[in-house]
Symmetry: C2
Subunit: 362 residues, 2 copies
């Protein structure tokens, strides 16, 4: 399949997203927040987590499976830590509000953490630590997601692709941003290979019998993704450990559905019969750099860190050593000038939403 794409103005996409949330009676301020989170992905090259997911948010809101007007509740608090019940709201709204609480806690105590239950898919994990960086804080975000990944040595889907993101402030160099799933690859990469009729590398997927497979269809139909590291030789137990950390902090600690019970982010997928908590969970932590070290000094040292790593001799065939965050900042520069390329499939989804809602196409 050809990968045809159409270019869109960033602001036009934002207007469309905003319109959709307003259509479902999301409060204006919340709709702006949710729009900013989704648009962040498209504007920074994370195509899998932006407007391509609007169809699913649309479907879930339409089916009444997400609460458009949640009342976020602080259900437990002890100085610098808080547990929040997201009232089944959009993760795109609950997420930024909870990160804001973590930032306030860090301002007061030097560090703060917020565990969140009863929430939904929160977009790209990297959005949240960047909120902290604006205050010269260090931010971390995690979320559990619906099952898709096998436990190490297991063949069944047991954990989500459970991402973790962190960001660190710098002075003149670009912000250092790490944002990655704890599986070898995201489900979206397997879907893309399937649509393109391509094989996937060994190490990404198991088939329905728990055998390593190159066939994306066999992963999709009853197989599973592999944790980062993939195999015994690749130390797949490490990706499994990482996914476990994220699952426990996000969901067991907050009282959300953990492991295989996490609520799926999909309109056609039924939840597990067994529920062990509320919704899915997120976890946010923030550290105030100033609590540890002079901020100016830290940021200068971060610049030096960036320059040192960037100067590393690249592998033959590789152009350069990238700094975590480079791909995002480069995509942003290009896309804000030239527009955001959307796959035709996504454009069709937007057209369908436009027809249903009367919101004009971007």
């Amino acid at each position: 399949m050809e990968d045809k794409r159409e270019l869109f103005e960033p602001q036009a996409l934002r207007d469309f997203i905003y319109g959709v949330f307003m259509y479902f009676d999301v409060p204006e301020e919340d709709a702006l927040l949710a729009t900013d989170v989704l648009a962040y992905s498209d504007e920074h090259g994370i195509d899998s987590h932006g407007i391509a997911r609007l169809k699913t948010y649309f479907g879930l809101l339409q089916a009444g499976r997400i609460n458009p007007r949640p009342r976020l509740q602080l259900i437990r608090e002890k100085h610098a830590v808080v547990t929040v019940d997201g009232d089944n709201g959009l993760g795109l709204v609950i997420g930024p509000k909870c990160m804001e609480i973590a930032i306030e806690k860090a301002r007061e105590y030097g560090t703060g953490s917020v565990a969140v239950s009863h929430t939904n898919h929160f977009g790209a994990a990297g959005y949240y630590p960047l909120m902290a960086v604006k205050h010269d804080f260090i931010g971390m975000s995690m979320t559990n997601t619906s099952k898709g990944v096998a436990a190490f040595n297991g063949k069944e889907k047991m954990l989500g692709t459970n991402p973790v993101a962190m960001a660190f402030p710098t002075l003149k160099e670009p912000v250092v941003l790490m944002d990655f799933a704890s599986s070898t690859v995201a489900y979206g990469k397997v879907e893309i290979a399937k649509r393109a009729g391509k094989k996937v590398p060994i190490g990404w997927c198991l088939d329905e019998n728990g055998q390593a497979t190159e066939d994306p269809e066999r992963m999709i139909n009853g197989g599973a993704l592999l944790p980062l590291g993939s195999s015994r030789d690749g130390s797949g137990h490490k990706g499994y450990c990482l996914a476990g950390m994220v699952d426990i902090l996000s969901a067991v600690l907050s009282g959300a559905n953990w492991g295989p019970f996490a609520i799926p982010f999909a309109i056609n997928t039924a939840s597990s019969d067994k529920q062990v908590g509320k919704g899915i969970g997120h976890f946010f932590s923030v550290w105030d750099v100033d609590g540890f070290r002079e901020v100016q000094e830290f940021k200068e040292e971060m610049d030096e860190w960036v320059r040192t790593l960037r100067a590393a001799v690249p592998l033959q065939g590789a152009q350069e050593v990238l700094i975590p965050g480079d791909p995002e900042w480069r995509a942003y520069e290009v896309r804000m000038k030239s527009g955001i390329p959307l796959q035709m499939e996504v454009v069709m989804d937007l057209k369908a939403i436009s027809q249903t809602t009367g919101i004009p196409m971007p």
Copy 2:
């Protein structure tokens, strides 16, 4: 090479380690602490981080490169966060003391974090979060280590094997403990293959030209380890991101030597000419479960988490799905009954130390 091993009584090994630290005039209380950290590794099957390293601690203390009587200094503090200067002490002493500070902070504020500079190798990272678990807290530890791992797409050693560890309390099930390096494998595994005259799997090592190699000697002589994920297909950029997080939190935030400047833990290796801080760095965080959720409830849910994952259908050929920490608890059970097996090379090192110091062999 045959892997011959001799069995030792756990307490006899502890006595020997303690004797060595006392020999160097380490204060009694500190010597007990350092002994407990080292012995933890041997007793829990982490052979690379226990008494096998005593030779190096011995050499560094003998050469005056580690301060046996450090005065730990709190150089900055803001409510729940602290920066400590470890006064070039043993990481085995500075580590537990700083984790204790993080625990006290969590008791007071719900969470606490300690960044430590001017310290040295702290043993197995998993020891520290287990200190927190004793109080029904969640613990996390990290440390940067001397360079050994290439940046993603790079061929030079730029970062350490930078491990991260977390532990979570449970009720009836064993504590959940994650403890892993951010490289595909630890340097020790490559050394073992070299001694045994064996090849290593592709994905562990680069040779001196930045080419993937199966030859452990070529990694050791001017090559580099690969970050977790190894290749582009395996998402090696994720291991690189993880190593970067650990490096920045442990060393840039604390004012220690970061990246390629980290002080080597070896008697025959000179430090980088350039120093960008003091010693190496650690980072500890603790969260009080009670700040988020009823402790009893959390621990029951953790038990359920453990049982659910353990019940996952294993891959063909794999006996079972393990829970993070299982390898440690199983090794402990065996070794405390049958004794601790040491490689003959390690036994020879102990004999040499015994002859120099007059401390009787265990």
